[in-house]
C-alpha cells in the first residue's frame, strides 16, 4: 500500500468516524436503532455542496449540512416519540423520504465540487503536501467534535440522555423528560452524520444521491469493531474507539484493495473486507482468552 492510499484510508476513516460517533449516540447511548443516517449523510452532502457552489463560505456550508442532518433526525424522533411509530420504521420512513428531499436540494442527482474552494483549501497554502492536508485538518475537526460530545455526555443534560437510553421508565420516575431527550439525541446523532456528509462531498469532489447506500452498516461495523479492539469502560474511550474502529475498517478495505497478489480479483473486495474485519474482531478476544488462561495457570 502506498503512502497516499494509507493517508486516504485514514482520511475516509476519520470522516466515517463522525458517522460512527453518531451511530454510537443512537444505538448505544439511546438504544434507538436509527437508520436515518442512510439519508442524512447524503442530505448533509447535498446541502453542503449546493451551498458551496452558491458561494456560501465552506465552513458555514458544512455547518448547514450538519444542521440539515439534525433536522432529519428530529423528524425521525418526532415520528417515533410523538406519533408512536415504531422507531425502526420511523427511521426507514425518514430515510426513504430523504431520497426525494436530496434530489430536490441538489436539483439533480450529482453536484460536483471539483475546482471549488472547500474547508480544506485555506490549509493547502501552509506548505504541507496536499495528501497530508485533508487527513490532518479532519483529525483536528474530529478531535474537537469528540471532545465536545464527551463534554456533553458528562453534563447534566447528557447524563439525563444516558439515563433515558439505559432505563426509560426509571429516568421518567426521576423527572427526566425522556421524549425530549430522545429527540435531542437523535437530532445530535444525525447532525454529526450530516456534517460528515458535507465533509465527504468536499473530500470526494462532489455530492451524489447514491452516497448514502449502506452508511448505517459501515457506521455500525466501526462502532462494534472499535468496541472489540478497545473494550471501553468510559465514554471518552468509547468515542475514541468509534473513530479507531472506523479507521481500522478503512485500512482493511485498503488492504483488500491490495490483495491482488493473492490472486484475488476486484469482485472479491467486499468478501475480503468482511473476512479482515472478522479477523480484526476475533484477534483481541483470542488474545484475552490466551492471557486469561495464562493467569489461571499462574
Amino acid at each position: 500500500m502506498s503512502l497516499i492510499a494509507f493517508l486516504g484510508a485514514i482520511e475516509i476513516g476519520l470522516m466515517y468516524g463522525l458517522v460512527a460517533i453518531g451511530v454510537y449516540l443512537s444505538f448505544r447511548i439511546l438504544d434507538f436503532p436509527d437508520l436515518t443516517v442512510d439519508g442524512s449523510l447524503p442530505l448533509g452532502a447535498a446541502v453542503g455542496a449546493t451551498l458551496i457552489v452558491a458561494g456560501v463560505p465552506p465552513v458555514v456550508a458544512t455547518l448547514a449540512g450538519g444542521l440539515a442532518g439534525g433536522l432529519a433526525g428530529l423528524v425521525t424522533a418526532w415520528l417515533s416519540v410523538r406519533l408512536g411509530i415504531l422507531h425502526l420504521l420511523a427511521s426507514i420512513l425518514t430515510m426513504i423520504a430523504l431520497h426525494s428531499v436530496n434530489l430536490r436540494v441538489m436539483g439533480k442527482p450529482n453536484q460536483p465540487l471539483l475546482g471549488v474552494d472547500t474547508v480544506f483549501t485555506p490549509f493547502e497554502s501552509l506548505g504541507l503536501s496536499p495528501y497530508w492536508v485533508t487527513p490532518v485538518v479532519l483529525l483536528g475537526i474530529v478531535a474537537a467534535i469528540l471532545l465536545a460530545v464527551n463534554w456533553f455526555l458528562g453534563s447534566e443534560l447528557g447524563l439525563a440522555m444516558r439515563a433515558t437510553g439505559a432505563n426509560a421508565r426509571m429516568a421518567r420516575a426521576q423527572g427526566i423528560h425522556t421524549g425530549w431527550l430522545t429527540m435531542l439525541g437523535i437530532a445530535l446523532s444525525n447532525g454529526l452524520v450530516g456534517m460528515a456528509g458535507a465533509l465527504f462531498a468536499q473530500i470526494q469532489g462532489g455530492a451524489d444521491i447514491t452516497m448514502g447506500v449502506g452508511v448505517i452498516v459501515v457506521g455500525l461495523a466501526a462502532v462494534i469493531l472499535g468496541e472489540a479492539i478497545v473494550s471501553p469502560r468510559v465514554i471518552v474511550i468509547a468515542l475514541i474507539a468509534c473513530v479507531l474502529g472506523s479507521i481500522v475498517y478503512r485500512l482493511t478495505v485498503a488492504l483488500a484493495l491490495n490483495a491482488g497478489f493473492l490472486g484475488l480479483q476486484a469482485q472479491d473486495l467486499k468478501l475480503v473486507t468482511a473476512v479482515l474485519v472478522v479477523v480484526a474482531m476475533v484477534l483481541p478476544g483470542l488474545r484475552r482468552k490466551y492471557a486469561g488462561s495464562k493467569a489461571v495457570a499462574r
Binding site: S2, I4, G8, Q204, G205, D208, T210, L251, T252, P284
Partner: protein
Amino acid sequence: MKKNTVRALAVILLAGLALGPGQALAEAKAVKITAIVEHPALDSVRKGVIDELAAQGFKDGDAIAVEFQSAQGDVGIAGQIAQKFVGDGPAVIVPISTPSAQAVAAAAKGRVPVVFSAVTDPVAAKLVPEWKKPGANITGVSDLTPLDKQLDVVKRMVPSLKNLGVPYNPGEANSVVLLNKLKDVAQPKGITIIGAAAPSSNDVLQAGRSLVGKVDAMFVTTDNTVVSALEALVKVGTEAKLPLFAADTASVDRGAVAAVGFDYYDIGRQTGAIVARVLKGEKPGDIPVEGVEKLQLHLNARTAKAMGIALPEDLAKQAAKVVE
C-alpha cells in the same frame, strides 16, 4: 494498562501489514482502470480499452500492466480506489462512469494523467472546462447519445408522434442530463417529452404503465436502472400496443423496436486509442474530449409487429441488424 499496550501494538501491526506489500513493479507502464460498479455496459468499456491498447502495441502483461478495481457501487470505496491508484503512481488512470471519474479527478489533483470513459456530460460534472481544450491533466470519451438522430428514427416509425414517454431514474445523473437534453431536442420537432420516474428497477413496470394512454411511444435512454428492467417495458408495450424505442443496440435484442445507438465496447476502443496517445507522451490536456463516433441502427421486426407498427422498407435496408 498492559492490555492497552498490546491492543495498540495489534493496531500498529495491522497498519504495518497494510503498508508492507504493494511496491508496484516499475518495469511495465501501469494502467489503472476503475468503474463504480460491475455492469455489462461498463465491463464492455473496460474490455474495449484493453483490446484497443493491445492492438496499438500495448499488450497487458507485456508493455503495460493493467489493474482493475470496481467500487461495487460504494462511493466511499470509489474514493479509496482513486487514492490507491494515485498513490501507485501509474502512467494513466482510466475511470469509467461519472462518480468514479469525479473521485479520481479529486484524488489526482492534476498530477496523474486521467482518461475518463462513459461520462455523459464531462463539463457539467466539472471534469473539464470545455470539450475542445480540456487544459488540465484530464480528457476522455463521453457517452452522450445522439438524441437528435434517435428522435428522427422514432418519428419515422411513428408518424403521428406527439407525446413521447420516457421512463427514467431521477437518481441517475446521466439520465437527468439526457432527459433535459431530450426535451431541448424534441421541442423544435413538435414532440412533447413526458418523463415517468422509476427510482429503482422494481418501479419500472409501474412507471411504464403510468404512460399508457398519455403517449404515442416510449423511449429509453442509457438509464442503467430502466435498461436493467427493460423486459417490463416490452411487456407494457406489447399489452398496450405502445412501441418501445431504445438508445443502445443491445436493448433491441431484448425487445425494443429500434435503436440508433452505439456499443459500449466501441466507446472502450475509442478510449483505448486516447490512452495509447497518452502512453506515447501526449498531454491529456491537449487532447479534445471525444463524443460517440460509431453509430448503428438496429431493428426488431418481431416486437414491431407485436407493438402494432410497420417497419419502413428503406430503414430496414439501412439497418446493421434486423432481429426477426
